[in-house]
Amino acid sequence: MLITQRHKAYWKRTLRITGILLALWFVVTFVVSYFAHELSKFSLFGIPFGFYMGSQGALLIYLFIIWIYVKYMNALDREFGVSEGED
């Protein structure tokens, strides 16, 4: 199998979006919950912020991360002419 420049470019872009989204995942998951106590000084919908992030905020951000990934990869597939279907 011939590994072309196109393979390399596609993979580089994939790695970049994966890295960025994983970094966001890491911050939301580990940094926020480690400092949950300090972040509970203010509230959202009547729930202390630390608790809100653990019970809803982080979950919605996870969904958002996957949504961004799906959108980005579909666009990348179209750009490289390997899209598997219509939007």
């Binding site: 106590h37 729930i47 809803q56 991360i65 799906v70 990869m73 579909n74």
Partner: protein, 682 residues
């Protein structure tokens, strides 16, 4: 309208409508005097036969249909099926209760069991689908070459899945015996039949379509009671938004409980009891005989003085329950000591993340609580992303593109559940703090006595004031979901619905797990390793036989009622994480990882995890004749997070061993390229 997906959506929409109508009809019948037991039976029979019908209709004898549903499942439905596959009996029954008991600390499960899907989406799903085979050991075999990696994958798959499936069948027994009133063993058999009819004839295809039906049942059953309760308390039936308000009310109630003199008195009494038990344990072996003498003397004194029959009975029962031998006495008093200590401690506020570090004595506790929270989240997430029965589902979509969006749908359907669970706990807590705590012990609601008969609720008037203090109430976390309809005074039909939902959660997860086990044996072990020339029909026969054997074995183990099974499930995540995660991630993202590295990394990672959790959790394993093996946890990390060490070991071992050895051959390099990016030369 020839789009099959639109037609499917119409079918399942119609089905959900019928299900809601059916619940309404039962509600009306109950109003006109239909007995509760009948409602339970109707729910049980109707839902199980519905799943069986779908299972029979989707029967197949095609290998691709059997293992991966013909790779024709649209992303949306695959997401829904994954949701049902994912949410187990433990999630359905246990999660809200855990959140009720431990407040913020319990959110580790909510985050861990959802955030893992980010890892699946970004690291695994698209690549596994592009690889396009049948099982996870398949991938390990193709990436690392030879049979070793594949065989190890089979071993780890069977180990994690079997523990998990036993817990599901055990859950079915519990649900049917508690809510429908069948005998535990009969419940297990009913569950087994339900599981087998779905998966035996139709494999993945049947299981997927049943799981979609089961998702609807379980999500309606989970959200309905708490939505009704939310409407009663706040006037808005959206508990996920309204529970912030209720949390503020709980804060005031917690404050009251902390300051109330009667509560302080009750806590001190438990503290005194804990101290007494401590000195009894320290005084062993002599203290056992002394305690017996002491009880006998007080019984005699009572009998000679003013006779109070109930007090005499209570003391006689205490004397009867005294253990016979010193080790038994140690265990007995130790468990009483744990309970008394728990009841003597002040409640932790529901919303408080960690113990307050401003107070000096809590500084170490604060640090260890943070560390344990973060590591537990890590293990649950990585474990989620490494569980074979979840990963397998992403082989079933028609394309890589659909696999990606299918993870999105999976998480969306799962979120509905996990966002509701914290609300569930808060509303239950509000009901119990405001209506139960502080009421007269003579006039407790019916559900308290009903659930205390089977030992899930216990109440003790330790300060003899006739009022129930918070410290005097002891709730098993399972009660929160099982009894919420009764706690909130809802009709029995809602309890029946909860039972049906819990049953759907247990059955759907068990289906997926059994298929995974059967696939590992028949596809990876029999076909790929022993008989590569086996005919298709034979492969299916082997697969179905394995499914039957695994199901029956799991039912036999479950009917022994292994007490520790639920803690075993928490361990399954750590085991799966350390066995699969490093080898899968490096297999896709690092071309340098070779076979020796992968196999040694998987084995060493799994060993470290097992070593850690056994030595931290147990001091002795009586049936192996091993004693005194307990150790201090490293950095104070609990055994449920054992995977953190195993995953780290796995990564380091694979990298070091691969760097020492030769890099993989060019065929493997090409294989990795083909998994990473689409074929451009089409």
């Amino acid at each position: 309208m020839t789009d099959p997906s639109a037609q499917l959506r119409r079918y399942y929409g119609l089905y959900t409508g019928c299900f809601l109508l059916f619940i309404l009809a039962l509600g009306v019948l109950e109003h006109y005097g239909m007995p509760a037991r009948w409602i339970g039976y109707v729910f049980l029979v109707l839902t199980v036969s519905l799943y069986a019908t779908i299972g029979v209709m989707a029967r197949t004898s095609n290998v691709a249909e059997y293992y991966v549903a013909g790779r024709r499942i649209p992303a949306l439905f695959n997401g829904m099926a994954t949701g049902a596959d994912w949410m187990s009996a433990a999630s359905f029954i246990g999660l809200a209760g855990t959140l009720y008991l431990s407040g913020y600390q319990g959110l580790a499960y909510v985050m861990g069991w959802t955030g893992g899907f980010v890892l699946i989406a970004l690291l695994f799903a698209p690549y596994l689908r592009r690889f396009g085979q049948y099982t996870i050991p398949d991938f390990l075999g193709a990436r690392y070459g030879g049979s070793m990696a594949r065989l190890f994958g089979v071993f780890a798959t069977v180990l994690t899945s079997f523990v998990y499936v036993v817990a599901q069948i055990y859950g079915v027994g519990l649900i049917t015996s508690r809510l429908v009133g069948l005998q535990f063993e009969i419940g297990v058999i009913v569950g087994l039949a339900g599981i087998l009819i779905c998966s035996f004839l139709g494999g993945m295809r049947a299981v997927t379509w049943t799981q979609v039906a089961q998702y609807m049942v379980l999500i309606v059953a989970y959200t309905a009671p708490v939505a009704i309760l939310s409407y009663k308390v706040t006037g808005v039936p959206v508990p996920q938004i309204m529970y912030g308000q209720v949390m503020q009310k709980i804060e005031r109630l917690e404050d009251k409980i902390l300051r109330d003199p009667a509560e302080i008195n009750a806590r001190n009494l438990y503290l005194a009891r804990a101290d007494a038990l401590k000195s009894l344990i320290d005084g062993l072996p002599d203290s056992l005989a002394e305690e017996r003498r002491r009880l006998s003397t007080s019984i005699d004194q009572l009998k000679h003085g003013e006779v109070n029959i109930s007090e005499v009975f209570a003391l006689e029962r205490q004397r009867r329950e005294l253990p016979k031998s010193t080790p038994a006495a140690y265990d007995y008093w130790d468990s009483l000591l744990h309970q008394a200590t728990r009841q003597s401690t002040e409640l932790t506020p529901h919303a408080a993340p960690y113990p307050d570090k401003e107070k000096d004595k809590d500084k170490a506790a604060n640090h260890s609580a943070r560390l344990n929270f973060v590591t537990l989240v890590f293990c649950l997430m990585v474990g989620t992303a490494a569980l074979p029965h979840v990963l397998m589902r992403y082989y079933t979509t028609p394309s890589v593109r659909e696999a990606r969006s299918s993870v999105f749908w999976s998480l969306l359907f799962i979120l509905v559940f996990y966002i509701t669970a914290p609300a569930y706990a808060v509303f239950a807590k509000y009901e119990i703090y405001s209506n139960l705590v502080g009421s007269s012990i003579e006039q407790l609601p019916n559900w308290v006595s009903a659930w205390s008969r089977i030992g899930l609720v216990s109440i003790e008037d330790i300060n003899h004031d006739g009022i129930l203090q918070f410290a005097e109430l002891n709730l098993n976390p399972d009660v929160i979901v099982l009894a919420l309809p009764e706690i909130a005074g809802l009709p029995y039909v809602i309890s029946g619905l909860v039972a049906a939902g819990a049953l759907a959660a247990a059955l759907s997860t068990a289906d997926g797990l059994l298929l995974t086990i059967a696939g590992a044996f028949s596809h990876d072990l029999y076909y790929k390793v022993f008989r590569p020339d086996a005919k298709t029909e034979w492969r299916l026969v082997v697969s179905k036989t394995m499914l039957l054997i695994a199901a029956v074995l799991a039912a036999i183990v479950a009917s022994q009622r292994p007490a520790d099974i639920l803690s075993l499930v928490a361990w399954a995540f750590s085991l799966a994480a350390s066995a699969f995660f490093p080898a899968l991630v490096l297999g896709i993202f690092w071309k340098g990882a070779n076979k020796t590295g992968a196999v040694s990394g998987m084995a060493l990672g799994l060993l470290v995890t097992v070593y850690y959790l056994v030595r931290v959790q147990f001091n002795s394993i009586p049936w192996l004749g091993i004693h005194g093996i307990g150790m201090e946890p490293w950095l104070g990390i609990e055994s449920t997070s054992a995977g953190i060490w195993g995953v780290a070991t796995g990564f380091v071992t694979i990298i070091v061993v691969s760097l020492i050895g030769k890099p993989p051959k060019s065929e493997t390099q090409n294989f990795i390229e083909s998994v990473r990016s689409p074929g451009f030369n089409r």
